[in-house]
């Protein structure tokens, strides 16, 4: 058969074929070598690397956010709660047409344009297998409506979680504060690792200042996941540790009473226990609904809050800096007594004004006709300005400054709430430093009646009052009373921080000024007798103040006529403590543009103390058993 073709050289062909086969075999050997080399490289040299990659692929660490600690008042009334919340999430990967799905969803669940926009933003930044929330805080009805139709929405799920709720709402908004979404700035002040998986961080009030206690420690779950990120089984589990629950010194009932007592007026009330420095109530008005912030405040609501001329977000109780007016007169009287510039029973002639040598500017008393001859207690309870002008001239600014400072005026109290302001207790050094001007005697007169440069916060006034009530003893103002360990349930009480006692050369001087303050309310000629002193069944000492509002802030828009009147009206102030012998409560009230301190702020203080006396705080057993 092979012989058919004479041209063919079979032997040559055969040997050529053998050669070619050998060459092919050699090439195959080389190529197999290349494959083996490559596979060995991957499996031996790079094994460690790929082993890690494989583990990374397989295992996913899921952060389990801790449950935020709750906030209670001193009686166990809840101020900040965690509520179950249902949110609607969409896993983009499992949805064919996102827009169409959203359109269909909108038929059964309200989805606003803002929700959509936020959703699309988040989708772009999230891995496609992760759920992206489209709606938060679904109502029970919405949850039910979705569940009925859930078969029509593959890739859409309802997720349960916790959200923050403030049962007292606006009443304690500035005090308790609120939580909100975590921003880049927030992460700068905390350990970022602890916040993976967390949705909320404290933004203001107690929520802000005790963030580290409230937040808790996140846990983690190591799960085996498949390529689409679905968890198949749990390999390892570290449970999160809930945050500590806080018990405040605040009494919710008193907080509410103070809030109501202010009515529609802008202002602040601070009530303090002089025996511990614990704040019993801290109110600022107008207020806002803190729940608005928890899951992201809407643009409209936020704009409304920040453009409101009454500045509802501003915490007047510790950020507002107001001239204290006559409320500081008891302190000034003490300064006079202690520096031997005057005796308590020394009668001083008080016409309606005084002038300084070399000037004909009249420094007027608030009462144009003057008070006639007054001694110190009377100068306090009738609030004679001229008496204190004359005292001021003797004392000089240095003594005034020293005693003001002693009572904590013009300095931050260090309260455990954020963004406290200091106010100003003016002095020569201050004026030289800030204005590069010498001190003028007329400014001394303004200062001693709590006007001029001097400003204080309502919290400082409460602290000052509580130190008078404590006859020099006092404690740092604070709101945290105790905290509860989430693991063993043990409760630790905070220890009040005593302030350096104010030692008088003659402790009897306390009695002089307290007597004066008592008569402010108790004496028929006292400024507050008609407004505060009626139907009392306890002893009380107080002092009114009316702080002149001299000028409009430069940047405020020109208000209409009625508002001008209101804007120029004095701030009304009143400080008080009760009972006189064993003081249990010290209160400072400020009503912005309220007018008369006694007539406007006085009744507020009275109502707060009445409410306190009617329902004295009960110490909850679980928190009382501290340590």
């Amino acid at each position: 058969m092979a012989a058919d073709n004479a041209i063919k050289n079979h032997a040559a062909e055969r040997s050529m074929f053998l050669l070619r086969t050998a060459v092919a075999g050699a090439v195959i050997a080389v190529l197999v070598g290349v494959l083996l080399f490559r596979v060995s490289y991957l499996q031996v040299l790079r094994h460690g690397y790929y082993e890690t990659r494989s583990q990374d692929n397989r295992m996913r660490v899921q952060v389990m956010p801790p449950v935020r600690g709750l906030i209670y008042d001193r009686n166990g009334v809840i101020l900040a709660d965690n509520l179950p919340a249902y949110r609607l999430e969409i896993v983009p990967e499992q949805v064919e047409d996102l827009s169409a799905t959203l359109d269909r969803l909108a038929n059964i669940i309200e989805i606003r344009d803002a929700d959509r926009d936020r959703f699309h933003e988040r989708v772009a930044k999230t891995p496609r297998f992760r759920g992206v929330p489209i709606r938060l805080n679904l109502s029970q009805r919405e949850v039910a409506r979705f569940e009925v139709n859930r078969g029509d929405f593959p890739g859409v799920e309802i997720r349960a979680g916790l959200t923050r709720h403030y049962p007292l709402g606006a009443v304690a908004a500035h005090l308790v504060g609120y939580v909100g979404g975590i921003t880049v700035q927030d992460l700068r002040r905390v350990d970022e690792k602890r916040y993976r998986g967390s949705n909320h961080i404290g933004k203001s009030g107690v929520e802000y200042s005790y963030e580290s206690r409230l937040h808790g420690e996140p846990g983690s779950r190591v799960v085996e996941t498949n390529a689409s990120g679905r968890a198949l089984r749990e390999l390892e589990m570290n449970r999160p540790t809930a945050g500590e629950s806080l018990y405040l010194t605040i009494d919710a009932r008193l907080q509410k009473a103070a809030f109501d007592a202010l009515g529609d007026q802008d202002g602040a009330v601070v009530a303090m226990d002089p025996n511990t420095g614990g704040l019993l109530a801290l109110v600022s008005k107008p207020s806002y609904d803190p729940d608005l912030f928890v899951d992201g405040i809407s643009h409209i609501n936020y704009k409304r809050l920040i453009t409101d001329p009454h500045k509802p977000l501003f915490n007047r109780a510790l950020q507002g800096q107001y001239p204290p007016g006559s409320t500081v007169k008891p302190v000034m009287a003490l300064a006079g007594l202690e520096t031997d510039q005057i005796e308590a029973d020394k009668q001083v002639w008080c016409p309606g004004f005084i002038t300084l040598p070399g000037s004909n500017h009249r420094y007027r008393d608030w009462k144009r006709s003057g008070h006639g001859w007054v001694d110190m207690p009377e100068a306090i309870f009738r609030s004679s300005d001229v008496y204190f002008y004359k005292l001021g001239l003797k004392l000089g600014i240095d003594n005034i400054h020293r005693y003001g400072e002693l009572f904590g005026l013009g300095a931050r109290t260090g309260v455990d709430l954020p963004r406290e302001n200091s106010g100003i207790m003016p002095s020569r050094a201050w004026k030289n430093g800030t204005r590069n001007q010498p001190w003028y005697p007329g400014e001394t007169l303004n200062t001693i009646i709590g006007q001029g440069f001097m400003t204080t916060t309502p919290l400082q006034l409460a602290q000052m009052t509580s130190r008078i009530a404590g006859r020099g003893d006092g404690y740092k103002p604070h709101v945290l009373r105790a905290w509860k360990n989430p693991v063993d349930g043990s409760v630790t009480s905070s220890t009040p921080t005593p302030l350096r006692p104010i030692q008088l050369n003659d402790p009897a001087h306390w009695q002089v000024v307290i007597k004066g303050m008592e008569e402010v309310i108790g004496n028929p000629r006292g400024t507050a007798y008609h407004y505060v002193g009626q139907n009392l069944d306890y002893t009380i000492a107080g002092k009114s103040g009316s702080a002149q509002v001299t000028k409009l802030a430069q940047n405020e828009a020109a208000p209409d006529l009625e508002d001008v009147e209101h804007q120029f009206r004095d701030h009304a102030l009143f400080v008080a403590f009760a009972p006189i012998e064993n003081p249990e409560i010290a209160v400072a009230v400020l009503v912005e543009h309220g007018g008369g301190g006694s007539s406007v702020a006085g009744p507020v203080a009275r109502q707060v103390i009445d409410a306190f006396r009617a329902q004295p705080p009960v110490l909850q057993a679980s928190t009382g058993s501290g340590r």
Binding site: M1, A2, D4, N5, I7, K8, N9, E13, M16, F17, L18, R20, T21, A24, G25, I28, L31, V32, V34, L35, L36, R38, V39, S40, L42, Q43, V44, R46, H47, Y49, Y50, E51, R53, S54, Q55, N57, R58, E224, T225, N226, A227, S228, L232
Partner: protein
């Protein structure tokens, strides 16, 4: 051929000879196929359906192989030009009215079965070249080389146009090997290699987007680790994490957790390497080498130019499958759709492969005794 035909053990060998079976090839193929079923069971997420399906195809393929082995090799030579012509006709039909699947036009709907004529060409093209050179003086003159090249180029271009670069490459390789064994001059081979290198840019600009994408991804898998580079990254992780001893059968997390795409088809080698480690890979490569060596041995022993060229080119083509697939999965070559022979899940290509071994067996068992 066998003197001890009457002895008890030689009953088997007589039986084998009678049924035209090459025992060594058969055992190696069966080993490979059995290994494949185990790997598939694991790679498919322990799907018995996949294993049963594959077993049925294997059965069909093995039956087809034995059937083909009964046919005298001379018949293939006679049939080769006709089958080749028919194949080209079908490829033209595909171009004109084929079914489109996943952007490529590869299938011909025959009513009962859908059929890829390009698969047929993997056999028809080398056989046609081998048949053409049977009566030519070798090494071939330039005119014969040209005709041989034309025989290869026509189906390759038609298949590449579908587009199916992987199959076109395999057809080109199969035909080219026949030409190589026919004695294509080394100078021409060298020239071809240089020409291919020079033509690469031209080829590049004629590629489809997805083909360019594959090449780019091959050059830098990190370029798009979630997209086109994902296959390669994940298969390298699978192989690498297997280590020397492997993670054990059914324990390859890459495939089981779906990180590895196409884990039971083109990327099945990654599963195998992940679960059996370097030792498994060496064993598998050894098995493949044995099959190739046996094929080349059959070629050397064959008594006719056609048979020699056919057996040689079919054997080398089998190796190309192995090399291209493993090279691709291990990140040495761009991703082209070439299955791992006898192991990847899939029907047509395995049946065609087994038929080619049927031809090898036919060639080997129809030898005339006078030759030795």
């Amino acid at each position: 051929m066998n003197a001890n035909a009457t002895n008890a053990p030689s009953t088997l060998s007589e039986w084998l000879v009678y049924w035209r079976i090459d025992l060594q090839l058969l055992v190696a193929l069966l080993c490979c196929a059995a290994l494949g079923l185990f790997v598939l069971y694991s790679a498919s997420g322990q799907s018995s359906a996949v294993v049963i399906n594959q077993s049925i195809r294997l059965g069909i393929g093995l039956f087809g192989m034995l059937l083909v082995a009964q046919i005298p090799p001379e018949w293939f030579r006679v049939a080769a030009p006709w089958v080749f012509g028919f194949g080209v006709f079908l490829l033209v039909l595909v171009v004109l009215l084929g079914d489109t699947a996943m952007g490529a036009r590869r299938w011909l709907d025959l009513g009962i079965v859908r059929f890829q004529p390009s698969e047929l060409m993997k056999l028809a093209a080398p056989l046609a070249v081998a048949a053409y050179f049977r009566d030519r003086s070798l090494p071939p003159n330039l005119r014969d080389v040209g005709i041989g090249a034309l025989l290869i180029a026509v189906p390759v271009l038609l298949v590449a146009d579908q587009p199916d670069l992987g199959t076109a490459l395999l057809i080109a390789a199969a035909g080219g090997f026949a030409l190589y064994f026919a004695g294509l001059r080394w100078r021409i081979i060298l020239l071809l290699v240089i020409a291919a290198a020079a033509a690469a840019p031209a080829l590049w600009f004629n590629m489809h987007d997805y083909q360019q994408e594959r090449v780019l991804t091959f050059l830098n898998p990190a370029r798009d680790p979630t997209g086109a580079g994902y296959h390669i990254s994940q298969s390298k992780i699978a192989i690498g994490s297997g280590g020397v001893f492997g993670k054990g059968w059914l324990n390859g997390s890459q495939a089981h957790l779906n990180f590895l795409p196409e884990s039971d088809t083109d990327f099945v080698f990654a599963v195998f390497a992940e679960e059996t480690g370097l030792f498994g890979v060496m064993a598998l490569l050894g098995l493949y080498c044995f099959i190739v060596a046996r094929g080349l041995y059959i070629a050397m022993k064959s008594q006719d130019t056609f048979q020699r060229l056919a057996a040689g080119s079919l054997s080398l083509t089998f190796f190309i499958y192995v090399f291209v697939n493993i090279g691709m999965v291990a990140g040495l070559l761009p991703v082209v759709g070439v299955p791992l022979p006898l192991i990847s899940y899939g029907g047509t290509s395995m049946v065609i492969l087994l038929l080619s071994f049927g031809i090898l067996m036919s060639i080997h068992t129809h030898r005339k005794l006078l030759a030795t």
